[in-house]
């Protein structure tokens, strides 16, 4: 795996706190994501991992603290601003456009990249047509890459779960993101599907140079894939470091075994 450049911080989470009523989802969490690395966020159920992703891509606004992405600090960011800035994501429970084909789903990921006006697109003429074809090319590349050629015209609701997750990854890739957030990309998969998905994640990181932040429960996968791991428990960061460092951390072991605080 390529060594990430320590000097290039892509995303900085600075003292983020988030509460829903009386429930503290995140308390003063800080960590950074370096350009080019695979960063895992782990922790027991309810640790605040998904909340953290939701803060990063603008679904939630932190009560305190801020997110700096590419050096630009923002306290309140709308989801479409995050994606415009180059953040793409997948969801814990697959969130695809169910009525549309796999191809259309991935094309939807290109929405932000398409520039031609509505009138031209409706006339399907000239520059707009050329643009549509060009984007279709990019989408076909992604379809090849993820090995889902055979299902491109199938409405995604009919696909098995593992393939749906792949299409969802494809949609995120279509955005050509700088930062890709994966929320449990391997949940509910069998061993073979997990191996495929791991391969895709590593390839994305290597070939496209995409920085990846992922939440995953399968520790073997996390330790294999990631360059650095941040551990959350009850909304508090309890460890941050390389997989080996984290594995040896007593607090982490306690959190997973449920030792009372």
């Amino acid at each position: 795996m390529r060594a990430p450049d320590r000097n290039k911080i892509l995303l900085q989470v600075e003292g983020v706190s988030l509460a829903f009523g009386g429930v503290k989802a995140l308390t003063n969490v800080s960590f950074d994501i370096i350009k080019g690395e695979i960063r895992a966020i782990i922790g027991p159920n309810g640790a605040g991992k998904t909340s953290m992703l939701n803060v990063i891509n603008g679904f939630y606004h932190p009560d305190h603290g801020a997110i700096a992405f590419k050096g630009l600090t923002r306290a309140r960011m709308q989801p479409f601003e995050a994606s415009r800035g180059g953040i793409a994501r997948t969801f814990q429970n697959v969130a695809l456009f169910k009525g549309m084909s796999a191809l259309d789903n991935i094309m939807a990921g290109r929405t932000l990249k398409m520039r031609r006006g509505l009138v031209w697109q409706m006339l399907r003429y000239g520059p707009a047509l050329a643009e549509e074809i060009e984007h279709r090319h990019r989408v076909e590349e992604i379809i090849d890459f993820l090995e889902i050629e055979a299902i491109r015209k199938v409405p995604v609701a009919r696909l098995p779960y593992g393939l749906q997750k792949r299409v969802e990854l494809g949609r995120a890739l279509a955005m050509e993101p700088d930062l890709l957030l994966l929320d449990e990309p391997m949940a509910g998969m069998n061993l073979e599907e997990k191996e495929d998905m791991s391969r895709f994640i590593i390839d994305v990181n290597l070939h496209y140079g995409t920085t990846i932040a992922l939440i995953e429960h399968d520790m073997a996968v996390v330790m294999d894939l990631s360059d650095r791991v941040v551990v959350l428990d009850h909304g508090v960061k309890i460890a941050d470091g390389t997989p080996d460092e984290v594995k040896r951390n007593k607090g982490v072991v306690d959190a997973y075994l449920g030792v009372p605080h």
Partner: protein
């Protein structure tokens, strides 16, 4: 023995009326496709658009504007009114409900209905206002073949023509443009749509604007036929069986559904009515819709309901 000429006349008349039903049904389909919301307010939007158009026309004509200038300005004014309405609805009624259940959004459109009906009549008045945008006389076709010929209303032909153009435009819009794709995406999943960079508030504004403009088109035709008045909102009720038959998510379905309802109820009224006492026209469409529901719950053209268990 039923005369062929009479049958054709009833059939054509029914089909044409059906196209006009489709015009109203289209507004429902648009919003449903793009937000997964059944828009109860479509009938009220037709009333609002019609009133805005007819009242501004009257005013302009009274000020001695040339008729064609008045028509252009009047339609422009009505379009602006529908745009403002779309913005207000997005901002205050459905916008705050992003990520909520379809039923919640449906309830809020019921509220929108009452506000629109009240506001439209408060601002523009509540009488019956005649609108004369299209010719209302008739053609008599094939007089040499059939005694008396076949009677076809010119207004109905205009309506059919406009509906055809509208449907072609909407079909391309939904299938072939990125905005159309974004609309379908928003209908399926708000969160996922936001995550790929689709700004929901903008998309919803576009949808409500499109539905408002379709309402305006429906208002021009229906307003010419019946006069612009409160009862135009009841058209929404006739659009229901059209939607059920055609399928809630299909633009072509709205058209075919409209044709079936229009032709079906007229033929039933004329040829079946005398045998069972008449008045069939008022309920025939609903019985037809019920039959379709039993056989194909998603309608003739609706998206198949797929459920993985």
């Amino acid at each position: 023995m039923i005369a062929l000429g009479q049958f054709l006349e009833v059939l054509i008349g029914g089909l044409m009326t059906g196209v006009l039903y489709s015009l109203v049904a289209l507004g429902f389909v648009l919003i449903f496709k793009a937000s997964g919301v059944f828009n109860f307010a479509q009938g009220a939007m037709v009333l609002l658009a019609g009133l805005a158009l007819v009242r501004s026309l009257d005013l302009l004509v009274a000020r001695d504007f040339a008729l064609w200038v008045a028509i252009i300005l009047g339609i422009g004014f009505a379009a602006v009114v529908m745009a403002i309405t779309a913005w207000l609805i997005e901002r205050f009624a459905v916008g705050p409900l992003v990520n909520q259940d379809g039923l919640t959004l449906f309830m809020s459109t019921i509220g929108v209905t009452f506000v629109l009906e009240g506001a439209a009549q408060m601002i523009f008045g509540s009488d019956v206002y005649p609108l004369r945008l299209f010719p209302t006389d008739v053609w008599l076709l094939f007089e040499s073949h059939f005694p008396g010929g076949i009677l076809v209303s010119k207004l109905d032909v205009w309506g059919a023509l406009i509906a055809g153009i509208l449907v072609a435009g909407l079909a391309i819009f939904f299938q072939g443009t990125k905005t159309g794709r974004a609309l379908r995406a928003v209908a399926d999943d708000h969160l996922a749509a936001q995550s790929v960079g689709i700004p929901i508030s903008w998309i919803w504004f576009v949808v409500w604007l499109a539905a408002g403009l379709v309402a305006l088109v429906a208002a021009t035709v229906w307003g010419t036929k019946l006069g612009v008045q409160f009862s135009i909102t009841f058209l929404a009720l006739k659009a229901l069986p059209v939607l059920i038959i055609g399928g809630l998510t299909s633009v072509p379905g709205a058209i075919v559904g409209g044709l079936i309802v229009g032709a079906g109820e007229k033929i039933a009224e004329v040829f079946l009515g005398p045998h069972i006492g008449g008045g069939i026209e008022y309920w025939f469409a609903y019985v037809l819709a019920l039959a379709v529901l039993l056989v194909r719950p998603q309608g003739l053209f609706g998206e198949r309901i797929i459920e993985r268990i």
